[in-house]
Amino acid sequence: MQKTFDKKKFLSQNSIWLVLIVLVIIMGVAQPSFFTVNNLLTLLSGEAVKGILAFGVMFAILSKGIDLTIGASAGLVACITASLVQPADYANAVFPGLGTLPAPLVILIGLAIGAGIGAIYGAIIAYTKIPPFIATLGAQLICRAGAKMYTSRPVSNLSSEFRFLGSAKIGPIPVIILVFFVMFAISAFLLTQTRFGKNVYAIGGNDQAARVAGINVEKNLIMVYVWCSVCAAVAGMLLAGRAGSADPANSGLNYELDAIAAATVGGTSHTGGICRVSGVLAGILILGVINNGLVMLKVDDNMTNIVKGLIIVGSVILDMRKNAKRA
C-alpha cells in the first residue's frame, strides 16, 4: 500500500504543463522579449480576469454543468460597483452627486450581488433540474440586459481606491496578479480541503451515488453557482478597476467562453467528476501565452483565434483518449 512514484502517471497527469513549457520555449525563441519579467507580468495581468472566471466555471463543469452567465454577470457587477465610486462633481456620473463610496463597502456590495445572482440561477438549476446550459444562457441574457438598463454609457472616472485591486502595483508586482493567485489558492482550498469540494467531485462523477451517500445535491449545486458568480463579481470589479471604466455593452462580453476554454484545456472534463486546479492554472497560462505571444509575433487576430480553437479541440480529444484508457 505504500505510495510509489509512478513516472507514467505523473507525466500523464501533468502533460498539460509540458505543453505549456513547450509553448513558452517556442514563443521565447521566436520572440526573445517574450521572456522579459515585464512581459510575463503583463501576460499574467492580462489573463487574471478571465483566469478568475475559469476558477469559477471549473466548479460548474466539474459538477457536470456549465455557467454561461459569468461574462455578463461580471459586466453587470462592474457597472454597478463602478457607478458607486464616481466622484460627486463628475457630470457624467450615473448618480451625479452620490459621490464615492468607500471601496471596501463597494467591493462587499459587488460580492453580495454576485452571490445573489448565482444563488438565484443555482436554485433554478438545482430544483427545476433544467439543464445548466439553458438556465445560465437565460441568466446571461438577463444580466447583460440588466447592465444596459442600469446605464447606457460606460461608467468611468472611478476612485483610485476602488481601482487599487485592478491597476495598482506593490513594488513591481501588479495587485491584480496577487488577486489572481489568491483566487487560485481559494479555489484549490475549496476543491481539495473542504467537504464542498469533495461533494462537487462526487456529484459530477455520479450524482445518484452522491445523493445516496447523504450529500445534499441541491444545496451543493446552488453553492457551485454561487461560487461561479462570486468569481464573476471579483472578475468584474477587477475589470472595471483595471480599465478604469465599465462598459455595459462590452465589459466581460464573451469572457465566459475564454474561461470555459481555459478550464477545458486544463483538463476539466465536461462529462463531470474530473478537475485539477493546477491543470486549470496551466490552461489559463496556455491561452495567455497564445494571446500574448501571437500578438508579439505580429500574428493576425483571426489566426490567433484559429490557433486557440485548435488547441481547445485538440486538448479535449487528448483528454478523452486519456480518460478512455483509464476506464
Binding site: N38, S45, G46, N92, S152, D247, V295
Partner: protein, 340 residues
C-alpha cells in the same frame, strides 16, 4: 413532422407577439412627449431602430427623443443588438404597426436596399451609417449623418502635421481596430491611412492589426505586451474607448501616454477629459445630438412633404439632394472646451 411545423409556427407567433409587446411598451413611455410638444402637434408616429446602444449611439438616441418631444412626434425606439435580421424584423413590424416613418441606424450598411424594401411605402431615414449603395437614396429614403471616410481623415491630417513639424516623414504606428469586418472599422482604418499617405507620410504598421472590438479593457490587454517590445511613433484607434485602453496600458507599464500621440474618434466625455489631461492627443467629434435631431426632423419633413433639410440647420450634399451631412469636427486641447 407535422408537429415540428406546428412548433415552428407557435414559436414564430410568440416571437411576433413579443416584438409587438416590446413596441407597445416603448411606445407607452412616449405619449407625454406627444402631448407636451403640442406646438408642432403633428402626432406622427415614427420608429427609430438602433443598430446597438453604445455610448455614442445612446447619446444620439437621447437627442432624437428630445427632438421628438419638441416637435410633437410619437417616437418608438428599438435595439437590433447588432443583428441584421432582427433589424429587418423591426422594420417589418413597424410597417405593420402603421408607423409614418422609420429611422434606421443600420447594423450593416450593405443591407440598405433590404431595409428600403422591407419598409415598402413607408419613408426611411438612414442615420449615422451611410448606405453601402447610395443609389437606394431617393425621395422616400434619405441619409442623415457624417461621412465615415472623413473621421479617419481628420486623424491622419492631425498626425501628418504633428510628424512633419518634427521633420519626420516615415513613421510606424500601432492600430487598434474595432470589430474586424464591420464597415465603420474598415472605413475608419482605411481613411486614416489614406490621409497619412496623401499628406506625404510613409506609415508602416508596427504589429499585426489588433482587433479590440471597440472595448477598453480588450484594447488594454491586447496592446500591453507590445508597448515595451516594439517601436512605434503613435497609436491610432478606431474609437475613444480603445484609445483610453491604450492610455491606461501605458500608465500601467510605467510609460508616459503623452510621449507618443494617441488619437481616437467620438469625443466621448471620457475622451474629452483625456484631451484636457493631455493623455489623448486628439479625437474626432461626431455630432451625436446633431445627427439624432436632424434625423428626426428629416423624418418629419418626409412625412409632411417638406424639403428634407428644413429646420435641421444642416445642408444637403452638393450632388445628392437626399443626403444631409452633419460634419465631423477634430477636437484637440485647443477647442475641447467648446464640446462640454
Amino acid at each position: 413532422m407535422k408537429r415540428r411545423i406546428f412548433a415552428g409556427f407557435i414559436a414564430s407567433a410568440m416571437m411576433v407577439s413579443m416584438l409587438a409587446g416590446c413596441g407597445s411598451n416603448d411606445g407607452g413611455e412616449q405619449p407625454q412627449g406627444g402631448e407636451s410638444g403640442a406646438e408642432g402637434g403633428s402626432g406622427h408616429k415614427v420608429t427609430l431602430i438602433m443598430s446597438q446602444r453604445d455610448e455614442w449611439l445612446s447619446e444620439m438616441e437621447a437627442a432624437a427623443q428630445a427632438a421628438a418631444k419638441d416637435i410633437g412626434i410619437d417616437l418608438t425606439t428599438q435595439d437590433a443588438n447588432s443583428d441584421t435580421s432582427k433589424m429587418i424584423q423591426y422594420i417589418e413590424s413597424s410597417v405593420t404597426a402603421g408607423e409614418d416613418a422609420i429611422i434606421v441606424n443600420m447594423v450593416d450598411p450593405e443591407t440598405a436596399a433590404q431595409c428600403v424594401e422591407a419598409a415598402g411605402e413607408v419613408p426611411v431615414v438612414f442615420v449615422n451609417r451611410f448606405p453601402g449603395d447610395p443609389s437606394v437614396l431617393n425621395e422616400k429614403a434619405v441619409y442623415v449623418g457624417s461621412d465615415e471616410m472623413t473621421s479617419g481623415a481628420f486623424q491622419g491630417e492631425y498626425l501628418a502635421k504633428y510628424f512633419k513639424d518634427q521633420g519626420k516623414t516615415e513613421i510606424s504606428y500601432l492600430m487598434l481596430n474595432g470589430i474586424l469586418g464591420q464597415t465603420s472599422t474598415t472605413n475608419r482604418t482605411a481613411s486614416v491611412l489614406k490621409a497619412l499617405e496623401d499628406n506625404g507620410i510613409k506609415a508602416t504598421e508596427a504589429a499585426a492589426p489588433l482587433a479590440a472590438n471597440y472595448d477598453r479593457s480588450e484594447a488594454l490587454d491586447m496592446i500591453s505586451p507590445l508597448l515595451t517590445t516594439t517601436e512605434y511613433d503613435c497609436i491610432i484607434s478606431n474609437n475613444d474607448a480603445m484609445a483610453l485602453g491604450a492610455v491606461e496600458a501605458m500608465m500601467q507599464q510605467g510609460l508616459d501616454p503623452k510621449s507618443v500621440p494617441i488619437v481616437g474618434i467620438d469625443a466621448t466625455a471620457d475622451g474629452r477629459q483625456a484631451i484636457k489631461d493631455g493623455t489623448l492627443a486628439m479625437t474626432v467629434f461626431q455630432n451625436a445630438e446633431g445627427q439624432g435631431r436632424a434625423s428626426l426632423q428629416a423624418a418629419a419633413n418626409l412625412i409632411d412633404g417638406k424639403p428634407i433639410a428644413d429646420g435641421t440647420g444642416y445642408e444637403v450634399d452638393d450632388e445628392n439632394e437626399f443626403i444631409i451631412w452633419v460634419p465631423f469636427e477634430p477636437v484637440t486641447i485647443d477647442n475641447v472646451a467648446d464640446y462640454d
